[in-house]
Amino acid sequence: MIRNYFKIAWRNLMKHKVFSMINIIGLTIGLSASFVIGLMIYYDATFDNFHKDSDRIYRVVTDFKSPEGLFHNSGITLALEDAIAEDSNFKTVSSFYIERPSKVENKAKDLEFKWPDFVIFTNQNYFNLFDYKFLAGNNQNILTNPNEVILTDKRAADYFPKMSPSEIIGKTLVYNDSLQVTVTGIVENFKDRTDFIFQEFISQPTLLQTRLKDNFIEKNWSNTNSNSQLFVKVNKSSNLPAIQARLDGLAKEHRDEESIKYGDEQIFTLQPLSDIHFNEDYGIYDWSKGQASLSLLWNLALVALFLLLLGCINFINLNTAQASQRAKEIGIRKTLGSSRKQLIGQFMGETFLLVLISAILSLILSKWLINLFSDFVPEGLSIELLNTPLIIIGIIILLLVVTFLSGFYPALILSKFNTVSVLKNHLASGEKKLKLRKFLTVFQFTIAQIFIIATLLVGKQINYLLNKDMGFKTDAIVSVYSPRAEGEISKKELYVQKLKAIPEIKEISIGGQAPASFSTHSSGMTYNNGEKEINAELQFIFGDKNYLKLFELELLAGRGHRNDTIKELVINETCRKFLGFKSPDEAIGKIIMIDDENIPIVGVMSDFNQRSLRSDIKPMALRGDWHRPDWSQFQAVHMAFQNESSENLKATLSKIEDTYKSVYSETDDYRAEFLDENIQRFYNRERKVSKLLNWATGLSILISCLGLLGLVIYTTNRRVKEIGVRKVLGASLLQINTMLCKEFLILVLIAFIIASPIAWFGINNWLQDFTYKTNISFWVFLLSGCAMLFFALLVISIKTLQAANANPVDSLRSE
């Protein structure tokens, strides 16, 4: 019986090739999206779930509440650990301190390693909390004495090449030229997905021999460093609100006078282990790995769901539309003794076959998709993850659900046909079924329409952000960075001298970052206007005398600072208003206090955006390089070109690089950045959203139009006779086409009416993140509506024109 079903299903597929293709394409798109996105969700959701009692492990993190807002830090004050170590609510309290040594040496082998990463100082408790497998060495009473270290097998292989774990035990490593440390254990790296990527575990007492000594001898309550991490495992019986209350109590008890004065407050919170991978507020330990974003995963899941739904809807629409073609077979089967249940079984089987074909295609496609969407897909995710039992079960369930969703309704309709009327060819097409099909089509087009509007508006916003005048010159400026930690100015000056020989360069300035960058420098400032004290955070940009001119920052009053090291400030308009000066001129000569120093304001410059346009303009000042030569804020040489076009740009750039190499002959670390490219990077996230939307839009239009095409083919085929009669009666091609298109275009219009407010609402919501918003223009809606109509009309016309063109004699004779 099953074989019979599959045979007939297969032949049906082959007989209606167009419909089968439409169905398979629709389902394949939906399933591929689901597979890839499902894999991503699985990948990110299974981080660190393998630890014993992982649901009871928490990281203690700190939130700072202040009048300026809420700030997050993944670390805690060092004093907190001792305060809660004896608390009976906690089974284990484990702290560690992340500290990167500058150098590690294996003297015996004469090997030297610079800046090894993922080194922590910790104790036995860390290994009680996280179950490491010991390959060598004792796992009891570890890291209690100073100068002990445990290595992972991976790190051990670097430090002690070609040695077995047990041979390494007892060997000595020298840290930072002075610390002699003995290896007491080798543990296996975690095999499962984890954010705990530490490789070297040095005993905590060793800290007292490092530069951090003072911090640990006198642990305080006021300094929070994200390197100082604290984990706890709570007891089964302990209740979390009570723990939180205890932590709040500790924070309150140790709040210092200054915090009270400025209204600052620190709050210790328990962050569940499972939250670490997702929570961007506190971050993960390996910054180079992008952090998983819950909202991104949600959005992706929604996209997958919609695409899958669209595919299912196509299936339902086409199969119910096609039902009359199968009616005869159904009637015969019923007279031959098939029960309704058996018929439903048969049709579900057919649906399953189709879903299966789509699934196989999707699996092949997924591999390609993972590469295509590498912006979204986490680095470690590979297609091999499909082999996990949970994923396989998930896929099977998904296939069954999709089969049921798309197959059940058509099966119900098909099996319900009345045998006798079918066999007598009295098939009335039920008005009700038509209504459902129309509803589903409207649904499809609504989704497609929403995607179109969203794509256009997100594109418009990105365009707006990139093209909005930021208040300074952004085009044709290149910045060349000097080697890291170079405190001297002489080489930069020499470089500038040499650059002046290049005629294509218009302006040169030595300074810090460009006016808009990812980094911020700020200090608290105080200004006393005679009545009251004004406190605020003041951001800085650093530059020489040429800086203002190069970036075309407008000076509204006063002058620029006289030289690099003189303590003078050029404030921006926002700062001027904040301090309460009525005009730029009024600000000149006033003194503000920064870090207990009195600094005069010598100039006021116009406002510009120092960050992405998501955020406001903050009080800011331009200053020189005050602390030279102890350390220098001047890290870059900025150049503006004569010519804004890209003509000869390459030649000029290579001249700049050659010049750099002639000055910095000993280093090969040449870093040049274009300002406009940097500004584009501000909007990487938006551009990701935009890319995703482009795809979702394209695919949803494709699926919906395919579905529409199917419906049109079906209806026109049924109306062939009517078309013939009308033609004989003298209807023109256009009239017939209009008649045929009208009913479908109405559906598209209804979809537009439903989609517009939804899209408006969604985009309006999204735009709230931006301080600078493009307006949601009327024409965008109009344009997207027209686009949708155009696509629909194109698809419909393919079939209707053909039908209208047919010779009426043929269609009428066959009747």
């Binding site: 007279t335 031959l336 098939s338």
Partner: protein, 222 residues
Amino acid sequence: MLLRLNQASRIIKSGGKKISLLDTINLNVKEGEFISLMGPSGSGKSTLLNCIGMLENFTDGGYVFLEEPVHSMKERDKTKLYKEYIGFVFQAYHLIDELTVQENIETPLLYKNIKSSERKALVADILDRFNIVGKKDLFPSQLSGGQQQLVGIARALISKPKLLLADEPTGNLNSKQGIEIMELFAELNIEGVTIIQATHSESNAAYGTRIINLLDGKIVSE
């Protein structure tokens, strides 16, 4: 007695009016009979066949098949009874276009859950008997009308029904093919299959052992 109709009627509503398709039919059919139903178009021949074949229901009256009261039966039991004892032959053959000759004939056996090997044997027998072994892998569209009807009859007989219902079995055939089919029916009747056929043709009706004339849903003469 194979079946008994007692005051059986079928009345449907159409556009607010009641239309009586069958009007108080009384009919007894013994096993081994060959009945020809005659009458003009719309007289109720097909409806009577469909009702006897349980594809449609009488709206009134009693219908007893093999001493079981069909009128008070559940749909599932009806299907069971029907699968076991009744075969149908149509004017328009109604073969499944997507299946080959062999598969078309096999289908009723699938619904009776007969084992594959047995099915093969039964199908082979009947193909042999109807002389269509050479055509077994062809699709219906590749056959002539007479051959299609032959397949239709073979399919109706494969499950060894007691009662064969034929609705104008020769209506789409030329006279030579028609005669062949009717002779096949006569032969089957001699082998013991009860047959009820609806027909317009006097000559076809003459193959029957009993002729019933219908007019406007009533039996007018026997």
